[in-house]
Amino acid sequence: MSPPGRPKGEYRSAKHEGSPVTAPAKLRLDGVGKRYPVAGAPDTVAIDEFSLDVRQGEFLVIVGPSGCGKTTVLNVLAGLDTPTRGTVAIDDRLITAPGPDRGVMFQDYALFPWQTVRGNVEFGLRYGPAGAGLDREAREERVRRTIELVGLTGAETKYPHQLSGGMRQRVALARLMANEPEVLLMDEPLAALDAQTRIILQDEMLRIWGQDRPPAERRTVVFITHAIDEAVFLADRVAVMTAHPGRLKVVVDIPLPRPRGDATRALPQFQALTQQIWSLIRDEAYRAAVA
């Protein structure tokens, strides 16, 4: 069942907006609600009536004020949280548990403290199904390449406790990318990075996602961020959420041409979209900041 108001095939042509051509839904959230029981008080509603399709090969970014349930949406997609209402599906199969088809980058990184940088990046390939069919040499080559990509070359033998917050975040990013999952679920993956590294990794994100490949060969990404310019730069669509309860407010198309790069950030359209999304969440963001 499609969510009401957005039947399949309604999406505009990709020729104008750079998003996949009426791609089928890869991920489908249908009327999803998640409540947490609170002792001696009414349940906390993390998200409510959340319906959204994420298309095959789409880069979807979720923005919204703190506490709007962004992370809950991600956890439900990952199969780490079970919705209390509604359904969530991947390729029309219900999601009931985590799986290697959906890679997650956690907000607190979830690095294995007993593994070095290399051990962490290699972990999924070595012990999970992601490394099936890779011989040792191919695996090591991929790990080496991924570590180089996130700028951690030289730190391979360090342990997480020896790294700065930004470096840990890069290890987590590299671990996710090394597994090359079909769907990437990322919870503020670039938040702890300095401005320059952040811009470099935004470009890399798009490359890994597959912006140079035809839409059918791209991965599907659900990406949470606080930074609106980051959302506009990366996304095919930006889902704006509202808090208390966490609901989907509006989905904004980002018809900026692809491939995107430094020139994209200078486009007047880029500025206009950033302004538009900011105006959508401004009131709530102010209220959240004051509260």
Partner: protein, 266 residues
Amino acid sequence: MTTVLDARAERWWSTAGVGLLLPVALLIAWQALGASVGTPRTPLPVNIVKAAAVMIASGDLPAALLQSLGRVFGGFLLAAILAIPLGLLMGYSRAAERNLDPLVETFRPIAAIAILPLAILWLGTGTSAAVAIVAYAAFFPLIVNAVAGAKHVNPTLLRAAATMGLDRMTTIRTVVIPAALPSIGVGLRIAMGVGWTAIVAAELAVGAKAGGGGSGGIGQMMFVFYAYSIELNRIIVCMLAVGLVALLLDRLLRAMMKKLMPWAVQ
């Protein structure tokens, strides 16, 4: 630069000096007081050092310590092989914990020395009884810490492993066990301590049963000095040796863990 180093050396000497002040003063007071008002039986620091020299030179003390150490290692290993896997299982599986925890907690307060009568009756007064006592004593700190280690694995790490598609056995091998290792290490250190305590008690008691001859070990050596030759100085040498060996073992274990678990910052 030199002044900084000088100052640092001076500070070291002053702290070390302050630390040594009290023990040295006590030793002097003990020697003086014992020599002036004590009976011939009163052990004196000077005599203890002399007795230690004799016992080391004759090879008796090292031989006894070595024998006891062998038993401690035997019992320690036996306990570790049983307790660590069992503890990990209990920490990981609620069902296993519910079934085994009452059993463990019932036996845990029973002192190792209390099972000595059974050990002697079943296993005799030799090494196997001593090893069994050590294993019994070491078992409980090992299992309790293994349970705690496996239970308090950071749940996000388990979630991360699940999202990477790891199956249950691989998750245990690559996440639960490594996460539990620091706690298991604490268990090993405590177990080494109680194992060493238990061996001295067991050998003392076995010595009482077997008489002067028999199975040896540092505990039995103490019993002989107590019951047969009545040599207080030598008993105190044995006591000090037991303490020093325990200290050494603990330092050794700690160094090993630091080497094996460089991520576990102490």
